[in-house]
């Protein structure tokens, strides 16, 4: 009753995976609190549940995925989740393992790639971009090892859990590692033999977005969230904190998932 004169506090539940998403959300918590929004970060360890929970109304928004993944999810589950803004992009990198350089790649070399759908496809696209293999449908984000049409070095692809790759790196010739796992394992994007470029098409395609239920885009709390998470302070936080393994990229989307502009 004492605080009755204050603006009513609104609870905003946002689902996220731990790194860097939850950390970035926690960073803007004080900012939103000033606007009377109590941001609750629900941490998931998984890429399916945050969407389920959002679609069923147990979350107000989530932040863990990129648009191609979201579209795939919507299509397969008949849901209507839409992106609002993008926040960051985590470039995949190709790191040396047993072999130190791409020049003397041995015949039948093993390369570890993440074993989840999109990361695997991205990894394969990265390998294609440096000319190691050729894929059936280069733009398809569901490519698997079965879609390799040309493999001159007889490369053996090992599908490993993304977080485990840094740990098994020394048992393979090369390893494709997600940005967040690379930095946590103590590698720098600068050590990578190849990486997705920060201003590339990949970056725009795989930027991680805030997702809400269709129709919620203009709710005041969501608008405030979007604004806070694309602020210059966040850009600085990301750049200083993640040393290039996480790159800020602030884009605005329409309900169809089309990019409608950049936020400065």
């Amino acid at each position: 009753a004492k605080h009755a004169k204050h603006k009513q506090t609104v609870v905003l539940k946002v689902g996220a995976v731990p790194t860097p998403h939850a950390e970035i959300l926690n960073f803007i918590k004080p900012e939103l609190a000033k606007e009377g929004i109590n941001l609750q970060v629900v941490v998931f360890n998984d890429y399916i549940q945050p969407n389920r929970a959002l679609a069923s109304g147990q979350l107000d928004a989530n932040y863990f995925q990129h648009v191609p993944y979201l579209e795939d999810y919507n299509k397969k589950n008949g849901t209507h989740l839409v992106p609002t803004v993008s926040v960051h992009f985590e470039p995949l990198g190709l790191y040396p393992g047993k072999s130190k350089s791409l020049k003397d790649i041995p015949d039948g070399a093993t390369i570890a790639v993440p074993n989840d759908t999109t990361n695997e496809a991205r990894a394969l696209l990265l390998l294609q971009s440096i000319g190691l293999i050729r894929l059936k449908q280069p733009a398809n984000l569901q490519e698997t090892v079965h879609d390799i049409v040309s493999n001159p070095h007889h490369i053996k692809i090992e599908e490993i859990d993304a977080a485990a790759i840094p740990r098994v790196k020394r048992d393979v010739n090369f390893a494709v590692i997600n940005g967040n796992y690379a930095i946590q394992a103590g590698y720098h994007i600068q050590d990578a033999l190849a990486a997705e470029k920060a201003n590339s098409l990949a970056a725009r395609t795989f930027a991680n977005v805030i997702v809400v239920r269709q129709g919620d885009q203009n709710k005041p709390a969501i608008v405030a969230l979007d604004k806070a998470i694309t602020s210059p302070a966040v850009r600085k936080f990301i750049e200083s904190h993640y040393h290039g393994s996480v790159v800020p990229i602030f884009l605005r989307y329409d309900p169809n998932g089309k990019i409608v502009g950049e936020i400065h």
Binding site: G15, P18, T19, V42, V43, F44, N45, D46, I48, Q49, R52, A53, S56, Q58, A163, P166, Y181, Q184, A185, G186
Partner: protein, 221 residues
Amino acid sequence: MMFAGVIWSEIGQATLETLYMVGVSTLLAVILGLPLGVVLYLCAPGSLLENRWVYQAASVVVNIVRSVPFIILLIAIIPLTEWLVGTSIGVNAAIVPLVVGAAPFYARIAETSFREVDPGVIEAAQAMGASVWQVIFRVLLPESRPGLIAGATITAVTLISYSAMSGVIGGGGLGDLAVRYGYERFETNVMLITTAVMVVLVQVLQWLGDRAALYFARRSR
């Protein structure tokens, strides 16, 4: 070390969550698994209520649940979870798949314990005109108590490590913390601390279970 303060409180929180999850789900797993174990024992070929069909049915259900990877089970029973606890995320939602996964496991352990009960004693009860229910409650359960308690301990310990996977649906708990910090963030010290707490929990649990089993075994030998 900078966020050590945060982590300690998180560990406290996670410990409570684990205790809650494991406690409740062990209890429920035992409550559901015990009757299932009794059915498996009684309907097995050559047993009291020999019944091919019931035994096969129970056995198949138990085997289906037990053979499905836990993460798939977690997803597959989400409708059930939502119907039971009203949500598919959080600690309470995590309990449902833990129970569903552990109950058949406990049922098998209970079945094994029942098989060790001296058939002569069961026969003596039958000779006194005990009904099947009376045989169950007055002979089978009391006589296999040490085994059932040891089995519950095994189940609880298994659940502690299983509960790590409940992070998938935001269940939290120590295991989740260990996976998130230790596995995904490479924060070895957090992993060590959480694991240590889990080991202590397991140790205490095992100690209690051993004491209880021994208590009953001593008397009955």
